[in-house]
Symmetry: C2
DNA sequence: TCATATAGTGAGTAATCACTCACAAAAGTA
DNA sequence: TACTTTTGTGAGTGATTACTCACTATATGA
C-alpha cells in the first residue's frame, strides 16, 4: 500500500465511522485525504470496493484477537475474555468498531463473516462445559458483549470504563450459572 | 393526519429501518407510498422533518412503555421489566427500533431524548435499593438490554426468543446481587 | 352555493453523486 | 540511458439528489 492509498483508507474509515457510509461522498474523502478523487477509483474500483478494503483490514485484526483468545486454557477463561473484549479495544480501533456496528443495521452492506470466529469460540466453550443449550448461552454472552461495546464506543470516558469492568466482574457468577 | 400522510410516514419508517436514512431517497419513498414526491415536502418541509415526525411518534410510544413500568411496585420489578423490554417488542414496532438503533451510530441524526426516560427509571430503582454505584449498575443493565434488543431485532425467530428469555431468567436471581 | 383553505400533483431545478478518461509524473527495470 | 508499469491528476459525464412551484382536486364552512 502506498502512502496515499493508506491515507484514503484511514480517512474513509474515520468518516464512515462518524457519519455512516452513505452520508460520506467520495469527493469529501478525497478532499480530507488530500488526494484526487480519481485515485480512490483507481485503487479501489468503486466506493463499495473501498469499504470492502477497510472491512478486510478490520477482519484480519479480529482474527488476531480470536487467536489470542483461542490460546487460553479453560473455556471459562475464553468466555470471560470475549465478554471483556470491549474493554480492551484501543482508541485508534474505535472507528472500525463503530463502522461495523453502524453497518449491522443496513441490510445492504453488512457482512457477518468478520465476527463469526468469535461466536465459534464461545459456542465451543459452552459445549466443552457440557451446557445443555450452548447456542442460547452463546447468544446471551454475545448480546452482553455487544451491548457493552456499544456503551463504550458511544460514550468512551476512561473513568466509566474501569468502573464498569469492576462492577461487571462481580457478576460473573450469575453470568456463567447454568 | 390524512391517509396519505400516514402512508408516507409508514413507508419511510420501513425503508429507513431496512436501508438507513441516507440510503433512501424521497423519490423512492413517494413511489413506494403511492404519492407524489412533492407531497412529502408539503407535509414535512424536508427529509429531516419526515425523520423527526417518525421519531416523535416513536418517542410517544416509548413514553407509554415507561409509564407502564413506572407503575410497578418494587425497584426489582422495574429493573426486570426494562431488561425484558426487548422480548416484548411487537413485530410491527421492529422498524422503529431498528431505525433508532441504526441512527445511534450516526452523529448527525441521533437524538437521545427518546430513550432517556427508561434510563431514569433504572437509575432511580438502583438508588432506591441503596446501591453504592447506581450509575454504573444502570450502564450495565442498559448495555445488556441494548445487546438483547440488537440480537432480537436482527435475528427475530420466535423460538430463539422464548429460549433466550427462559435462559436469561435462570440467571436473573443473581443480577440484583450487590 | 360560493369562497377559502387544505391536500395533492408532476414537471422542473441547481447541486451533488459516483465514476470515467486522457493525460502527466514517478518508479521500476534492463 | 530508454522503455514499461504504476501512481496520480482534474476536468468532465450522465444519473440522481433534495427540494420548488404553478397548478388542480377536494374538502370545509357560512
Amino acid at each position: 500500500m502506498t502512502e496515499k492509498q493508506l491515507q484514503i483508507v484511514e480517512t474513509a474509515l474515520h468518516l464512515f465511522a462518524e457519519m455512516g457510509f452513505d452520508a460520506v461522498s467520495t469527493n469529501k474523502i478525497a478532499q480530507e485525504a488530500g488526494v484526487s478523487e480519481g485515485l480512490i477509483f483507481r485503487h479501489f474500483q468503486n466506493k463499495l470496493g473501498l469499504l470492502n478494503a477497510i472491512m478486510q483490514i478490520g477482519a484480519e485484526k479480529i482474527a488476531l484477537f480470536s487467536e489470542q483468545i483461542e490460546i487460553l486454557a479453560t473455556p471459562e477463561e475464553k468466555i470471560q475474555a470475549v465478554l471483556e473484549l470491549p474493554f480492551h479495544i484501543k482508541e485508534d480501533e474505535y472507528p472500525f468498531w463503530k463502522l461495523l456496528n453502524g453497518l449491522k443495521w443496513q441490510n445492504q452492506y453488512y457482512d457477518q463473516t468478520a465476527v463469526a470466529p468469535i461466536r465459534n469460540i464461545i459456542e465451543k466453550a459452552f459445549k466443552d462445559m457440557n451446557y445443555s443449550n450452548p447456542t442460547t448461552e452463546t447468544d446471551l454472552i454475545l448480546a452482553y458483549t455487544d451491548g457493552l461495546a456499544t456503551s463504550i464506543l458511544l460514550k468512551s470516558t476512561e473513568v466509566d470504563k474501569n468502573e464498569l469492568l469492576k462492577t461487571l466482574r462481580k457478576k460473573y457468577n450469575w453470568i456463567l450459572k447454568k
